[in-house]
């Protein structure tokens, strides 16, 4: 049984109230940081912890913090990215609705470390009910003296607000999020300048994912070195994995980084195997944008090593035989799943969510969706597969923000690993479009 650093008390009755939360050690990190540490010492502990951004990119959080510009007399901001929208990812919603004070505690300690006096939690608009849970908890934190003026008599002031989005995946990209927080369309900004220099209201700004911020209290309480002892290599600490698709026990699991993928899928401690007694066909391990892998490559690397739930192990083999840990959105597909249909579905998503600023993405995602739609519906041609791969290639690297890559990768990977299934759709449209049709395997193409 792995250690639970974030979710140990998640099912305690009343843990969403400050009273019960404090009985279980809540807000200790605020007292420790503000009373006994300088802001730079807090940053140093987060650096030592090896914590990597939990939103998907995996960039070291402490390093990101150290880039924050600190010109004298200019306000700076901490903004929490709670715009959880990557298909397959639903960990932050659970964390915020059940443990609102954990995020608030993390925001206070982190804001102190960064010298921010106003901080925002940008939450996706669909989660208005979670916004209300957070606002209630924030009011409790104000009343207890953890927020507002002169926190714990230290002279440090902090106001914390929750801001709802309006339904746009792109606002999970940090500069689109800042545009949205300024009341505009969520169009990502050109970089540089990076938010660390010119972010919200053109002020220095750090944007961190909910789960990253929620890890800060335990890092401050136990020390960065202790945190770094958990996990494997540069994948330190614990990670929330939101597991969905054709699993017996979908849900949110906090794992110590390093659990074997096979154990995560099949053991009763985690997902309990594939539903209906079926076989596993493929997994998208880190949210819809990361490359899909067939069963044999998700359980073992190309070299035959057991694949582990770590940043490094999942990306072993690059995009040829590997994938990414990403946001921890773990989507399992059973043997009856149509890969063409699933790829079309994801392409439709990215086309729908493209902000339209960059033509390779705006037009390219549309072409991906259209071509995949016609293959799935029995009107594909032999050329289509190569056209798809070519369009995907031309989006990559040619856009302001990573939505382009997010749209291209799933298509490239599906063709790489499941090309024969696409060919079957094109060559045998009548069989492939029958309701409930299941690809019978390569033999049928001979």
């Amino acid at each position: 049984m792995g250690r639970k650093l974030l979710t140990e008390h998640i099912n305690v009755e009343g843990i969403d109230t400050i009273e019960v939360y404090r009985k279980h050690g809540g807000y200790r990190s605020v007292e420790k940081a503000i009373k006994t540490m300088t802001p730079d010492e807090v940053v140093e502990e987060v650096k030592k912890s090896g914590l990597r951004g939990r939103g998907g990119a995996g960039f070291p959080t402490g390093l990101k913090w150290s880039f924050l510009a600190k010109p004298e007399g200019v306000p700076r901001y901490l903004v929490c990215n709670a715009d959880e929208s990557e298909p397959g990812t639903f960990k932050d919603r659970q964390l915020m609705s059940k443990l609102p004070h954990l995020l608030i505690e993390g925001m206070i300690t982190s804001s102190y470390a960064l010298g921010a006096n106003t901080s925002y939690i940008y939450i996706r608009g669909e989660l208005l009910y979670v916004l209300r849970i957070l606002e209630k908890a924030i009011a409790e934190a104000y009343a207890a003296g953890f927020l507002g003026k002169n926190i714990l008599g230290s002279g440090y002031d902090l106001d914390l607000y929750v801001h709802p989005g309006g339904g746009a995946y792109i606002c999970g990209e940090e500069t689109a999020l800042l545009e949205s927080l300024e009341g505009k369309r969520g169009n990502p900004r050109n970089k540089p300048p990076f938010p660390a220099v010119s972010g919200l209201y053109a002020r220095p700004t750090v944007v961190n994912n909910v789960e990253s911020i929620a890890a800060v209290p335990v890092i401050v309480n136990d020390g960065g070195d202790e945190y770094a002892k958990i996990g494997v290599g540069k994948s330190t600490g614990t990670k929330l994995i939101s597991a969905c698709g054709h699993l017996n026990k979908p849900g949110i699991y906090e794992i110590e980084l390093g659990v074997p993928v096979e154990e995560f899928i099949y053991s009763d401690e985690y997902c309990g195997g594939i539903w209906k007694g079926r076989d596993l066909k493929a997994v998208v391990a880190g949210g819809s944008s990361v490359p899909i892998l067939p069963k044999e490559l998700i359980l073992k690397t190309a070299a035959g090593e057991p694949r582990l739930m770590t940043y490094e192990s999942l990306s072993d083999g690059g995009f040829v035989t590997g994938t990414m840990l990403g946001s921890g959105g773990f989507i399992a597909m059973d043997e009856t799943t149509c890969i063409v249909r699933n790829t079309w579905n994801f392409s439709r998503f990215y086309h729908h969510e493209s902000c339209g600023q960059c033509s390779p993405c705006r037009e390219g995602t549309g072409w991906l969706e259209k071509i995949l739609h016609r293959i799935e519906h029995g009107h594909g041609t032999e050329r289509d597969i190569d056209v798809l791969a070519s369009v995907a290639k031309q989006i990559e690297g040619n856009t302001i923000c990573p939505l382009g890559e997010a749209a291209a990768w799933p298509v490239s990977a599906a063709i790489r690993h499941f090309r024969d299934e696409f060919e079957w759709h094109i060559r045998h449209p009548q069989e492939a479009t029958r309701p409930g049709a299941v690809y019978p395997g390569k033999a049928v193409l001979a």
């Binding site: 208005l128 209300r132 507002g148 995946y169 969520g186």
Partner: protein, 192 residues
């Protein structure tokens, strides 16, 4: 084409909504009132029948001190804002991968059959339901999922769960009160 001769009644926010808007605007620097755009649009949609008519968007512009076009360009970008009249309940059905793997296509067909409404079209004949397909709602482990206002209905893969949702909505006598009217304002924030 002639211009309408009847004057359209200019919409006004209720006192409760005005108080909530004032509270929200204080969250941002005074010269950054436009930041309140999305929260105020949510309030407007809840106040005026579940959609934001052009006159309602003009009212939002007025309240925020911005040009109407600044509201239009936002309301058309974000998918949560309905730009046409809707039924009493808008059923937002998640259609993205993880929900599709667990039967969201079948759920959509079933909801169309039961309510008589069609996705992307107007409300059902009884005015009760509008069906809208949306992208990932971040509830993939509890698929398939439908959102109605602020509530998530999850694991709608059985006849019972679908019927329970629909009968709860049918039996709602009126649109529920605005959330802050039920729970009161978070008062520590009101003083800032």
């Amino acid at each position: 084409m002639s211009l309408p001769t009847e004057s359209i009644q200019k919409p006004q926010f209720s006192e409760a909504a005005k108080a909530e808007i004032d509270r929200i605007c204080k969250q941002y620097p005074a010269e950054r009132r436009k930041s309140a755009m999305l929260p105020v649009l949510h309030i407007a949609q809840a106040e005026f029948g579940g959609w934001v008519a052009p006159e309602v968007q003009d009212l939002v512009a007025e309240v925020l001190g911005v040009k109407p076009i600044e509201v239009y360009e936002v309301s058309t970008f974000y998918t949560m804002f309905n730009l046409k009249p809707v039924g009493k309940h808008v059923l937002e059905i998640c259609r993205t991968g993880p929900c599709q793997l667990r039967g969201s296509d079948e759920l959509t067909l079933e909801l169309e059959r039961i309510t008589g409404a069609k996705v992307g079209e107007g409300p059902s004949a009884d005015g009760l339901f509008t069906l809208k397909e949306v992208e990932c709602l971040a509830a993939c482990g509890f698929a398939p999922v439908v959102q109605v206002r602020e509530k998530y209905y999850e694991q709608l893969d059985t006849e019972e769960s679908v019927n329970a949702m629909l009968s709860e909505l049918r039996n709602m006598v009126h649109r529920p009160a605005l959330p802050w009217e039920e729970t009161g304002l978070p008062n520590a924030l009101a003083n800032n």
